[in-house]
Symmetry: C2
Subunit: 195 residues, 2 copies
Amino acid sequence: MSATTDPEQLLARPKRADARRNYEKVLSAAREAFLEGGEATSLEEIARRAGVGIGTLYRHFPNRQALLEALYAGEVEELSRSAAALDGRDPWEALSLWFERFIAYLATKRALADELMNYMDKDAPLFAACRASMFAAGEPLLRRAQEAGVVRPDVEFGEILQMVMGIGKIPTADPAQTEHMLRIALDGLRYRPDS
Amino acid sequence: MSATTDPEQLLARPKRADARRNYEKVLSAAREAFLEGGEATSLEEIARRAGVGIGTLYRHFPNRQALLEALYAGEVEELSRSAAALDGRDPWEALSLWFERFIAYLATKRALADELMNYMDKDAPLFAACRASMFAAGEPLLRRAQEAGVVRPDVEFGEILQMVMGIGKIPTADPAQTEHMLRIALDGLRYRPDS
DNA sequence: TACGATACGGAGGCTGCCTCCGTTTGTCAA
DNA sequence: TTGACAAACGGAGGCAGCCTCCGTATCGTA
């Protein structure tokens, strides 16, 4: 959210006042719409909510994926920042807490996350930036835990991130079950292969 | 494959000879098409390949999801059967091997699996049967491993299945990475929480 | 062979993504 | 303040995919 509010930050934004205004209107309409309507929300619907024409929407976001990414960018940034607050904690606790938050976060935005997941292997300029931001936040937590000897050394942050994303993506009625799966998977980080 | 070949088995199939023939034609055209074209294959394209009208396709499969499910049904059944061959092995080895096969299997059919994953939380009559079949195959492996004391007792098969599916779904260029993630997640099954 | 039930096939409806281009509006220099 | 021009708006319409409907063809049986 905040990331899309302060101007001229990431990737040149529209210049004229009305354009900037509409950009924001579309973005927040999209945020709303996805929260309510789920993945099936059409771009026309979003434009309508924002009170702009479909052409305007497309002027700002060249396609559906671009809009999703822009939305996501703001949200992820916020999540990343929350890693900073975990500095004082026990290394293992900090790491697993962060991933728990990540999952919980994914759960609230399932529709958005679901769709983005599908684009993940395709080129995604803005999305790559998000990934970087997640890395910046989470990787130190992992390293700290590894240095403290509470996490096996043969894992990389990227892997875990993807693993956790995979688990987060699983459609399950019961969030507790997702949490349990996360718990199990993360416990895998602590297991020491004997050999 | 075989599951769709022997007649009158699961869920009443079309009766007239031409109908049965077309059913098979569509199914195998779909199999081909998904192998080649990936997720984006349209039903029109499949009908064309099968040499039938789109109406005929819809007569047999009321919608896209139904077709995907029917396809999947056959394939999963085959996988399930492969569990029987693992009976003699060490319990842990048997379990993890089976999941490895599962992942490898998913990898070869990513397009299909991907799409189905999206439907998973929705009602899916035929799909439920597949799930059951997977349970029948994999759950005994899990139980055996738990009884042997090599897997923590606080996990259920359904959870693990979903976890593994989640990991399998992650789009990654490198299959080895997926395998590593699976390894880690499965190791979580062996970890014993102290408390 | 003739007839009813079953199945075929494709035109067309609907919806969603996206493009194109004529019209409107903000901005800035005079 | 005004005029001119670049920037932005907006929505009609193209295109593709999913699915429905119904007239036509085919199968199977008496």
